[in-house]
Symmetry: C2
Subunit: 354 residues, 2 copies
């Protein structure tokens, strides 16, 4: 099988980690019978400055018509509002209907307090519809409003995805993988005590989706988002799969990343029907760009995650194992993990373990 992968490095350290993602795909063992072709694509703030467009149509069209998957690096947010600029990754998620943002947060099993959870974030609506307006109050001062939109459809499919992921994780456990969890569990996060209609709809629809007999073995519980953040830090080991509307998912996944020591370890995949974009959870980190010290692990794991959603689970497992090998040995670590290794050294150590 030949997979055609779009490469969108974006800004800052995106340009250093996406090439690492390409290298690991090229280094996969021949026995897997997987071939890769790559297409370089543009998006980001630099692209905006050069062309006036942050997400060129050509990038979207090429992904849609020619690619099986993609890797996205990171984009810089301008430090002041810039007219006409808006985040290309948010636009890309919507234009390709990549309705789920899947973010596994996992420590190595040898950690003192191992954790192993996946945050399944709705990726197309909520406040991310970006419908805003500004008007003047009677006294001339400004008021701005934004729409938070929650639909039954999007809530249903994201909760279903969370249920499927919970089942898949249980299957891997049943096949003998070491794990801290006994049985599958989905935690629905919302703030329906304040937002009874929007988050109330998310909550009741998620319950309905997870009541499908297909998920009979999956436990279902709920946490109000503020309390969820509290518990995430007090008892992170109890969480298996967390499903949340877009914005809470964004916040929770950064919070969970803090638990494993660095955003530089946490991958994500933007997933739609038959298409997935791997994307490290970290940003463009302008402070360390060009120094060859960015942690490539979030990207390498995002490559694996993308492969999982393209049904190449064996290849994915090889990458995860190679990364875990590097972390468990702990000799070649990037500075965010307290080490001194360069991006290149970490990548090469992981390639050796493939």
């Amino acid at each position: 099988r030949t997979l055609r992968i779009g490469l969108i490095p974006g800004d800052g350290i995106g340009k250093e980690v996406i090439p690492a993602g390409r290298r690991i795909l090229e280094a996969l063992p021949a026995s897997l019978k997987l071939k890769f072709e790559f297409v370089d694509l543009k998006a980001g703030f630099e692209t905006f400055e050069q062309t006036g467009v942050a997400l060129p149509d050509k990038t979207v069209e090429t992904l849609k018509n020619e690619c099986d998957g993609a890797l996205f690096g990171a984009v810089s947010s301008p430090s002041k509002a810039v007219k006409g600029y808006s985040s290309p990754i948010v636009a890309l998620r919507k234009r390709l209907d990549l309705y789920a943002n899947v973010r596994p947060v996992k420590s190595v099993m040898t950690a003192t307090n191992p954790i192993d959870m996946v945050i399944v974030r709705e990726n197309t609506e909520d406040l991310y519809v970006k419908e805003e307006r500004t008007y003047a109050a009677e006294d001339g001062s400004k008021i701005a409003e934004a729409i938070k939109r929650i639909s039954e459809k999007a809530s249903f499919r994201i909760a279903t995805m969370a249920g499927e992921i919970a089942l898949r994780r249980q299957k891997i456990r049943d096949s003998g993988a070491a794990s801290i969890h006994q049985s599958p569990m989905v935690t629905i996060t919302h703030k329906s005590n304040v937002l009874s209609q929007t988050d109330g709809l998310f909550r009741s629809t998620a319950r309905e989706a997870l009541a499908n007999p297909r998920f009979a073995s999956v436990g279902v519980e709920e946490q109000i988002v503020d309390s969820m953040v509290y518990k995430l830090f007090r008892q992170p080991e109890t969480y298996d799969v967390i499903v949340a509307p877009n914005l809470y998912g964004d916040i929770l996944s950064d919070g969970a990343a803090a638990l494993v020591g660095s955003l530089g370890l946490v991958p994500s995949a933007n997933v739609g029907e038959g298409f997935a974009i791997g994307e490290p959870c970290h940003g463009s980190a302008p402070d360390i760009m060009g120094k060859n010290i960015a942690n490539p692990i979030a990207t390498l794991r995002s490559v694996a995650l993308m492969l999982e959603f393209l049904n190449e689970e064996t290849a994915a497992a090889k990458i995860y194992a190679a990364v875990d090998g590097n972390l468990e040995e702990g000799k070649l670590l990037s500075p965010d993990l307290g080490g001194k290794a360069t991006t290149t050294e970490v990548v090469e150590d992981i390639l050796r373990r493939l």
Copy 2:
């Protein structure tokens, strides 16, 4: 001076901790020349079940016309949407225009990694305006929308309050109090990379408010909310004052509470012009209600915080010191802190130290 204080226990353990708040006010040394009168007031889910109204007008009117301040316990959120019920504390904040929710999160100075921050949360708008509607999509499925409203006025006054609090904290440090901070700093939290108009307005208005020469000595920085949660856990000791729109403030304060070991330690005050309601950050905790094991410290500190905003700083300082004494000794702690003491024992230990 005689202060008239409304007591609103609400539901669950609210009924156990608010009496503790009353006791500490009554136990303040006579040398302070402070007298207290108390008015018992109703609100909460139980009140709703009994009367059909969660926040009786009488409670609001009595607070407005007869009281100098109040203590609010906690309210239970029904486990399913209940027609006509909506959170009385959210309504109370708006009806009394208690525009700031001030939440100090502080470990004892003898902690291994001491932290000492205040979250200053806007308390009247954002998604808490609760303007929601539900409609049918073309295919008949449901869509719900909520308004997130951010005004220049509310953003300006909350940022000004944050600046004032930063100055006040510095003054206390200047007078020789031990502290982990050298100089005052306000961190503005927002998500303007997605919500350029609403959170953009919060951001630019907060910047403007803090550019007042009055705050010349106050450092100002910004954090995007997801990154803020990450940093809150990675380097909490660096934060002095955090200012945030309503919902982010809600989430951040629970997150910060996790850092000091228990929500049972974290106080808050809902503050308006000349009025303040002390309110523990924890909920009604139905699982432990009636057992006399709720941690009263969040409430006792909320009493002190209320007194600070009523300009009774000496009385407040006495309560803080008595609470710190109890925690530093660590002999009589409630179960949430790993101890075995009852609510009554903790309260009595603290009263002894007054």
